[in-house]
């Protein structure tokens, strides 16, 4: 049975051919929202450059006309004449050279964006008229093409699935019946271009409000007429937006499509546009957030506003006022490289709004005055903080205490730019194993008769063995380099290149928060095991662990600049194994491996100084683990079982590869951790312990293997 599969259509032409490095590392998937942020910022910079170049070209042309009267005969074709002269290598006037330098830059800029828009493909023979592109949203336009390509692929998947379902007699899930208020978008992170409308019309709501919205089935979604006038929150009733980031909404599942509609009063409703109702019903609902006004508004890790340092005060205020601010307008200001007089007027008007919102939220006047920006730079920074607080409400982390700025009288306006200590996007979900690699591996196993029967031969032994070695099985996943490379001497000092920025030590409050989160995950495992949660759906569990891991990483990276954060992420030291191990175990061996999952989460709780709910049993498990580490005989026996049923050596190779890769990852993380945390750091101890365990197992298997 093999239905006819829709073939790959010709890809839409994009004239931009990005510089593609040979053999480059596969890049991590961009976090949701990152693409549009970068594209919008890029377009803003490009427009600013374009405008400047235009002015300079016009200025130089005027200068040239004054300096070289012969050009006045045909002033509309000055550049063309100059280009011809340059082609013939004729001597050019210095001003003409300067003019052409800028013209070349403008052409380079234009060529870089000649991707999609027909406007850019127009006849450019009239050089004077098309010196530089004046369109906006060129990057967006190209991204839209990519989005269309993705949607076309997804449509093909749909067609294929429908054919298979028909042949298998499977009833496909009912499609969403409610018409979408906006065009449906792919699950990938290219939203509608904000540049297709004036910035003011793109009021992206504060996500902090959205978390209080109930998750509704698609059938409940009804288009609401959009009100003409924004309400006190700055949004129009009925306006919609898409948001796919599960990190911004705990109930939003990765890959589902969602539309948010504004219901007024600061409330947003999240609507799944494609999930069958029963799936949506499984999505956990978040408790309605406490009111964001008054002195008890949740801001700090312990749930109260944090005014302990000027920096925290600034962030606290940003977060408190974000739900009441017109984020679209702020975003527009943020992306502008230079503010006009009109922009400043708007900022002054917003200042009053900020003060009003802050007072309503219970911010004391003294704190308000202390946080009031005193320079345009500080103003920009505050705006940035507010926008980020709206985008990533759960990720506004409190930074390290910083020196207080000089006290000065409060000014009229507020604000802020990217810089030190900025909250960053949470680390993206780690890339799972490559399906291609997995399929190839499985194909090999199948060809060798290994995987034919579920409970027979090496398949069973391997699964059993992997269960025992579950804590490092994830080494097989994701990493690109498969070469065996046992670690360097980690006792050596990190080289300057290896040194990573110094991380923030977790505070007691942060530890408590993390322990609480991990404990929740720990309890969830029991629920899964007892069948209280659908065992085939581990996504929610994995998701909650990921959130905790990401939160811990963010705590540790407080106060670092974006460059430093990138360095830390590249070092792998915060590759908290929950992120991968759970995906690995669940995907590969099914949801029955509760023991391994529980041990993993329990280890994290203990690392942070917490107590696992089942301390007694955990202690026993720990003893068992220690016995396993020290008992070479026992493990050799296990290994022997694997090898005896592994005449081809495939299982051994797979295991050795996993072990060596994991050692490499651990060593890299250890070096980075040593450079970034003090010796007493629990994270460092955890990595060292992990290394010891894996090294012991590796030694034994190497010895056993020969």
């Amino acid at each position: 049975m093999s239905p006819e599969i829709p073939h790959k259509p010709a890809a839409p032409e994009t004239s931009v051919k990005p510089e593609k490095a040979e053999g480059k590392e596969k890049k991590a998937r961009l976090p949701q929202g990152e693409v549009q942020r970068r594209a919008a910022a890029l377009d803003a910079r490009r427009r600013a450059i374009t405008e400047t170049l235009k002015q300079q070209i016009r200025g130089k042309k005027e200068e040239l006309l004054q300096a070289e009267p012969r050009f006045q005969k045909d002033p509309d074709h000055v550049i063309h004449t100059l280009l011809v002269a340059r082609e013939k290598k004729e001597e050019l006037h210095p001003i003409a050279k300067e003019l052409l330098q800028r013209y070349d830059l403008a052409r380079e800029l234009k060529a870089a964006y000649e991707a999609s828009s027909d406007a850019y493909k127009s006849d450019t023979r009239d050089l004077e008229a098309s010196v530089v592109p004046d369109g906006s949203g060129a990057v967006w336009a190209t991204l839209e093409e990519y989005r269309a390509r993705e949607q076309a692929i997804l449509d093909r998947v749909d067609v294929m699935l429908a054919k298979y379902e028909e042949q298998c007699g499977i009833t496909p899930p009912q499609p969403a019946t409610a018409p979408l208020p906006e065009a449906a978008h792919s699950a990938f992170d290219v939203p509608p271009s904000p540049l297709s409308a004036p910035p003011e019309a793109v009021a992206i709501p504060a996500a902090s409000d959205v978390v209080a919205a109930p998750v509704m089935a698609a059938a409940d979604a009804q288009p609401v007429p959009v009100s003409a006038v924004p309400d006190a929150f700055g949004y129009r009733v009925g306006q919609t937006r898409t948001r796919f980031e599960k990190e911004s909404h705990p109930g939003a599942k990765d890959g589902f499509r969602y539309i948010q509609t504004y219901e007024g009063g600061g409330n947003w409703r999240l609507v799944s546009t494609e999930a069958p109702p029963h799936r949506v019903a499984e999505i956990p609902l978040r408790e309605k957030s406490p009111p964001r006004t008054g002195p008890g508004a949740p801001v700090g890790p312990d749930g109260s506003p944090d005014y302990s340092t000027p920096e925290r005060t600034l962030r606290t205020i940003a977060r408190l006022v974000a739900p009441s601010m017109p984020i679209g307008r702020l975003r527009g200001l943020e992306t502008k490289s230079r503010w006009t007089a009109g922009d400043w007027e708007e900022i002054h008007a917003l200042d009053a709004q900020v003060r009003d919102a802050a007072r309503r939220a219970g911010v004391p006047d003294s704190m308000l005055n202390q946080a009031a920006p005193r320079t345009p730079h500080e103003t920009r920074r505050f705006i940035h903080l507010v926008v980020r607080a709206a985008d990533y409400p759960a990720q506004v982390v409190m930074p390290e205490p910083q020196p207080a700025p000089e006290q000065a009288p409060a000014k009229e306006h507020f604000a802020a730019p990217p810089g030190e200590g900025m909250p960053t996007d949470r680390p993206s979900r780690p890339e799972s194993a490559s399906p291609a690699a997995m399929l190839d591996e499985f194909q090999q196993m199948k060809e060798q008769g290994i995987a034919e029967a579920p409970s027979k031969g090496i398949g069973e032994s391997l699964a059993t063995f992997l269960e025992k070695l579950g804590t490092w099985w994830n080494g097989l996943w994701g990493e690109k380099n498969t070469e065996a490379a046992v670690s360097p001497d980690v006792s050596a000092e990190a080289t300057p290149e290896q040194q990573t920025p110094v991380l923030h030590e977790l505070t007691e409050a942060e530890k408590r928060e993390l322990i609480q989160g991990y404990s929740k995950a720990y309890e969830d495992i029991d629920k899964y095991q007892q069948g209280k949660i659908n065992p085939t759906d581990m996504t929610g569990l994995i998701s909650s662990w990921e959130v905790m891991s990401a939160k811990e990483a963010q705590h540790l990276m407080q106060g670092l600049s974006p460059e430093e954060i990138q360095k830390v992420e590249e070092s792998g030291m915060l590759r908290l194994p929950l992120q991968k191990i759970t995906v690995g175990i669940v995907a590969l061996m099914g949801p029955q491996d509760y023991e391994a999952l529980r041990a993993e989460v329990g280890a994290h709780i203990k690392r942070l100084g917490g107590t696992v709910p089942e301390q007694e049993e955990e202690t026993q498990d720990e003893t068992k683990e220690e016995e396993k580490v020290t008992s070479a005989t026992e493990r050799s026996t296990e290994a022997q079982k694997v090898y005896e049923s592994d005449p081809s050596g495939l299982a051994r190779d797979v295991l050795m590869m996993a072990l060596r890769k994991e050692m490499k990852v651990i060593d890299s993380a250890l070096l980075a951790t040593k450079a970034s945390l003090n010796e007493s750091s629990p994270l460092l101890a955890w990595w060292q312990d992990r290394r010891k365990t894996v090294q012991a197992i590796l030694n034994e298997h190497e010895q056993f293997a020969g």
């Binding site: 990005p18 890049k27 998937r29 890029l42 997995m438 579920p454 995907a587």
Partner: protein, 106 residues
């Protein structure tokens, strides 16, 4: 590690949205081994296209960013050169002014 578990694991790794993943799982469960493998191959092929598109989009963004940075740097350089040029011209004028005899000396 049987085939069903394996294909489940494989499907979990796909880029396609959850809804399609779930439908794929339902299909994979009822197919024979051979058909399932073929089905997964098709799915994997489309998934690879999705990943590739994502990568290309990322490349495009990077490319666009590089160009902007390059042009910005070039503009800054031109600006500096222009200032230096103006300074030199001013110096020349100053020197000429110093070398010229005062108006009353003639």
């Amino acid at each position: 590690m049987d085939f069903t578990q394996f294909s489940t694991g494989l499907l979990e790794c796909l880029f396609v949205p959850d809804a399609q993943r779930q439908r794929s799982l339902a299909v994979a469960k009822v197919l024979s081994d051979a058909d399932r493998l073929e089905f997964l191959r098709h799915l994997q092929e489309m998934d690879r296209e999705l990943r590739q598109t994502e990568e290309e989009r990322g490349d495009f963004l990077e490319h666009a960013e590089r160009v902007v940075v390059r042009v910005e740097h070039a503009m800054a350089r031109l600006g500096r050169e222009g200032e230096e040029h103006a300074e030199r011209e001013q110096e020349m004028k100053n020197m000429e002014a110093q070398l010229s005899p005062p108006p009353h000396v003639s």
